[in-house]
Amino acid sequence: MFERLLMIVASRWFRLVLVVLLVLSLQTTLFSEIRPWGYSVQLMAIFVAAAGAVHDVRTAAIVGMVTGLMYDAVLATPLGVSGLVLGVIGAATALALQPFRDPTWWLRMLIIGLAAALSELLMPFTKALVGLGGWLDVRVLAAMAVTFIGALVFAAPFVPISRWTLREKVLLGR
């Protein structure tokens, strides 16, 4: 029983939840107040894109889904909207980098930035699909630009963090 619990705690998915909790807390506190030109940088999307940049499509999609569901749980949006958007973003980032055998650091950052910015377009679109319209306007472009610039800054720390978080095996003192 104890060993099983230890295995769960040591699993990469449990680690993912803990790391996303920290990123989410930064998103809802610091980055909801620091709003360059009135727009908040979407750390959650950047984290998912960073995970997509260093993992396969399936893992990235699951990371996006889990991250999005946790984000939805603290927002007033219907549960699953951010899950869907970030799941697609994670998968899209991994797919975009698939043709490159060993992508350079700047290509990775660029793809992460573009994918995170894309999430700002997909979010109002998905909200409109579920009947919460009114957000698809020119503001989306500005939000995309801010998140793109933010991604260029935060991709560098998020890539190693997501790599560590989703590491397959962890040594348990053996």
Partner: protein, 354 residues
Amino acid sequence: MAQNKTQLTRAVVLLALASVFFITLDMSNSSATSRVRRVFDTVFYPVENIARVVTRPVSGAWKAFRNYDDVVAENDRLKEQVALQEGTAVAAAASVRLSQELLALNGLPTLAGINSVTAQVIGETPTNFSQTIEINQGADSGIKVGMPVLNAAGLIGKVTEVFNNRALVMLISDPDYALSVKVVTKSNRTPVTLPPLITEDAPTVDSVLETADTSTTSSTTTTTTTILGFTPSATTVPADVVASAGSNISVPSVSQLAVRETGILEGRGPGTRPVVRFLDATTRAGAIEVGAPIVSAGGSRSLAPPDVVIGVVSRVVERLGTAGPLLEIELVADLSNLSFLRVLLYQPITESGR
């Protein structure tokens, strides 16, 4: 390669199905999703609080860097405004009291009869696609989904999500927000002036108020008020009651009283003024002027009690056909600078059970 593709397709289909399942569940107001949110909030709240404390110096530095000049300019402007308003505030308070007494006398609902909870804003929306704020009071204080939220100036939104000791408030500028409102306009008709009436005892507004508790009539004939800065424009007492001996009085006919057009107020996102639509195209569209006050309409299915101040008309857009005019509204509450709020413990019927 083919196996990878199958796995990828399966993952994407599962992802989409799971999301659609959650969205459907949540949009049908399932209690399961509410429970999930509450459980997650219990776990997340301490983490968020720690993050808030740790990051406060950084956000403080950012605000100081960005807003210093604006704050200094605003402070100067506010000092001037406070000096201007000090005198009129007393008169306004007296007018409000008088109005509430009149409404109470007639058995009409007033805001004074609704309990409220004072809350402080502790967070803003973390996304670019919702207009919500977080307040530090929740279900423990009696707050429920749908309750209207006000600041000192007027209505700012409604509660959309409630946790034990915090709640999310959707602002009036969110495109998902809609509320039935009244546009209070002036009538263009001139008042009817009556000759002096030869009667002895005639009650007036003041005398009626003074004697309300004892249910007797008074013989006072004065129609003036001693409230500083308050000048009644006309005696707004029904014609069959007013009969001030020996003086000409203006008796407002029904058509002269304030006209109330009803419509639906809708938010249009940050930085864009909300609009009122669905006004009756056939009646008195021309009578709606810039500056006309907008208040909540009230009613059994409304999201807010009647006569909560919302804003004033800033632009009237006439439209052809039966669409009726479109009104742009300048809100009285400054949504970009919210601190202390009042949650009215009034849950609309449409939101009950949530």
